[in-house]
């Protein structure tokens, strides 16, 4: 049993840690490249959303290298993500690959059932430790990522944020015990504080939208970094740990947060529409109340929940007086086009901010 899994941001580090601690060898698919996208798009239905194509590409590349068990996620709808596994299984079988597929449904009972399949002669204690270890890495990676995003518009030396980030990721991936991971966190956070300028007031932008596109930097063309280097503080509303704690573990604080978002989104969207469509609207309303300068919505082409949100967001933007930019990604997204739109959007926000400041000064 050689386990493989799809890429999504730093997900591979978490899953690698989990399965290795459970006593199974893993094969992380090669990093996403143009070839992955082409492979995936070639064998996928034409109008399916981008994550389907890219993860299919991941699986093909991993199977080519000898993996034989795919671990991926399931779902209950109405978003298409929940049905990916079934269709991808059919496509890969038609391509002639031999493999097992384990689709983890988002409920704790199913997770435990599948766990019996993947854990290799491990005691409950060891299994618990494996989860704790992987969970710690996940939390630390997200904390570091948040701190690095805050650092980027304030860095004393250009590029230092990226150096810190890549070094931290490497160290966390290699760390073998929980105390080591927490030590890396401390170390990184101190380094970040050391390189931070305190006298900058950057623009604040909220990043809402679909989880895969916001987390996977290859797909969103390093959106966070590009914005950070333009001197913008990006507040991403979606992290892997939020998703796991909210959807899988159903922690109370996340359910409460969801209720809160539902209440503020209600005048615009009165029902859950799958995925993160409702959250995108809820966060946009909240961010305008919190004085953000703008919101960027990022999602893959034809994503059903986000398309609904996109058609409602102009109204939200108008009512709440906050600029919203929708960025749609597919396998053909050109870099220059996205850059131009981002630059124009940032210029607009700066202009708005200056005008507001001038107005304030004279009144």
């Amino acid at each position: 049993m050689l386990i493989t899994y799809p890429h999504m941001g730093t997900l591979h580090i978490v899953l690698k840690t989990l399965f290795t601690s459970l006593g199974r060898p893993v094969l992380t698919p090669p990093p996403i490249t143009k070839r992955t996208m082409e492979l995936g798009a070639k064998h996928s239905p034409e109008t399916v959303c981008l994550p389907f194509k890219v993860t299919l590409g991941n699986f093909i590349e991993a199977l080519e290298q000898g993996a034989d068990t795919i671990v991926t996620c399931g779902g209950v709808g109405p978003c298409r993500l929940g049905y990916y596994a079934e269709v991808q299984k059919g496509i890969l079988r038609q391509l002639g690959y031999k493999f097992d597929i384990i689709a983890i449904e988002p409920d704790i009972v199913d997770v435990l059932k599948n766990l019996a399949k993947v854990s290799h002669k491990k005691s409950l204690r060891e299994i618990y430790y494996a989860f704790q270890f992987a969970g710690t890495k996940m939390g630390v990676l997200d904390t570091v990522k948040k701190a690095v995003t805050m650092l980027r518009p304030r860095q004393k030396t250009p590029g230092i944020a990226d150096v810190i980030w890549y070094r931290a990721v490497k160290d966390i991936e290699d760390a073998e015990t929980i105390p080591k991971v927490t030590a890396i966190l401390e170390e990184t956070l101190t380094a970040i504080e050391k390189h931070k300028r305190q006298d900058v007031q950057p623009l604040r932008i909220g990043l809402v939208g679909e989880i895969y596109v916001t987390l996977e930097d290859f797909i969103n063309q390093d959106l966070e970094r590009v914005l950070g280097n333009m001197g913008v503080e990006v507040h991403k509303t979606m992290y892997l740990s939020d998703y796991v704690r909210g959807h899988l573990l159903r922690k109370k604080e996340y359910l409460d947060k969801y209720e809160e978002l539902f209440t503020v989104a209600k005048p615009y969207l009165g029902h859950y529409v799958g995925g993160h469509g409702l959250k995108s609207i809820g966060y946009t309303v909240q961010m305008s109340q919190q004085g953000f300068d703008g919101v960027i919505q990022a999602y893959p082409f034809t994503c059903m929940p986000e398309v609904i949100a996109k058609n409602i967001l102009p109204k939200v933007s108008h009512d709440m007086n906050i600029p919203v930019l929708s960025l749609v990604y597919d396998e053909q997204s050109g870099e220059a086009g996205v850059m131009t739109r981002l630059e124009a959007f940032i210029d607009l926000l700066k202009c708005r901010k200056n005008r507001a400041m001038v107005k304030q000064a004279y009144s």
Partner: protein, 319 residues
């Protein structure tokens, strides 16, 4: 003074100005539930206005929206047509009509998309119909609709009871011996809409083919046929379509060809089509995917249908 007021009310009553006009757009779920909805609203004492057939103008009207599928754009056109003619727009939020399954997200979000994009929209009756967890929620929805129209729960239930009996008009097609039989799989709001589907059913008849559609398959039959897929589809209509397609492909009376008709950027169909095409390939039944959008040109469309028909007719003739 007192007398005058009394008489004015009386005049209104005589002229029947007090009837509430409720509009139902001829789009999306109208093709499944329209007849029942119409009867139900009439039983509740409303005057029902249904928008006309889809035209080119209806399609153009809805193109303000970004990235949504063609049926949703067409729905906007229909709602635009009804604006100003009606007091209420009947567009219940159909979240789920069967246990453990959903509708397409775009149908769930429809009332909100309408509200955000159409200025001067009449009040929308957007009662949640969510039978995903409890079937009884239907009665809650019925009494809520009754409340909007000023009727009590009991009256509403009675109206529903009467409306429910109205059977969907089923077009009975003659089966011609010796004709090739094609399963045309697609959402009713695509294949039953003559403008949207470019009259595909009629065109296929003219090419000497017998056409069967998913509506001809009972729910129970589709359910059992759909069991061959590993995971049940969680969209009710996609589940029915896939089940119907599998039922049509069952030997010994398998159809000679399968045409899957979808609109560009339809979410559930992208996956459903893939599953059906895998199955058709396994059974070596010819399969064609027909995608329509507002730019589809007639000539290209006709050529594809004709080529597919020719292929079916010649398939076994050679050997």
């Amino acid at each position: 003074m007192e007398q005058q007021r009394d008489s004015s009310i009386k005049i209104e009553k005589d002229d029947e100005i007090l009837t509430i006009r409720v509009g139902i757009p001829r789009c999306l779920l109208f093709y499944q539930y329209g007849v029942v909805w119409e009867k139900f609203l009439q039983e509740l004492g409303a005057e029902v206005i249904i928008s006309g057939n889809t035209t080119r103008a209806t399609m153009d009207n809805g193109s303000d929206l970004d990235e949504v599928c063609l049926p949703v754009k067409v729905a906007f056109g229909h709602v635009n047509e009804l604006c100003g003619q009606v007091d209420y727009l009947f567009m219940p939020r159909m979240v789920s009509v069967s246990e453990g399954q959903y509708m397409c997200p775009k149908i769930i979000g429809m009332p909100d998309m309408l509200r955000s994009n159409i200025p001067g929209l009449p009040p929308v009756i957007d009662v949640d119909v969510d039978l995903r967890q409890k079937k009884r929620n239907l009665y809650k929805a019925i009494s809520e609709i009754g409340q909007v129209l000023g009727k009590g729960s009991l009256q509403s239930f009675y109206a529903w009871h009467k409306a429910k009996k109205v059977q969907r008009r089923q077009e009975i097609q003659n089966v011609h011996a010796g004709r090739k039989r094609v399963a045309l799989i697609g959402h009713p709001y695509i294949i039953q809409d003559r403008q949207l589907s470019m009259d595909v059913i009629e065109r296929l008849y003219k090419l000497d083919l017998d056409v069967v559609t998913p509506e001809m398959v009972e729910n129970s039959q589709a359910d059992s046929a759909a069991k061959i897929i590993g995971k049940k589809l969680f969209w009710t209509f996609s589940h029915h379509m896939a089940g119907a397609a599998f039922a049509f492909m069952q030997p010994p009376h398998a159809v000679d060809g399968v045409i899957f008709m979808t609109s560009f950027s339809c979410g559930p169909d992208a996956l459903t089509a893939e599953i059906i095409s895998h199955h058709a390939q396994d059974q070596s039944i010819p399969y064609m995917l027909l995608t329509v959008d507002e730019h589809t040109a007639e000539a290209g469309f006709v050529t594809r249908i004709e080529a597919f028909t020719d292929m079916l007719k010649r398939r076994w003739a050679v050997c």
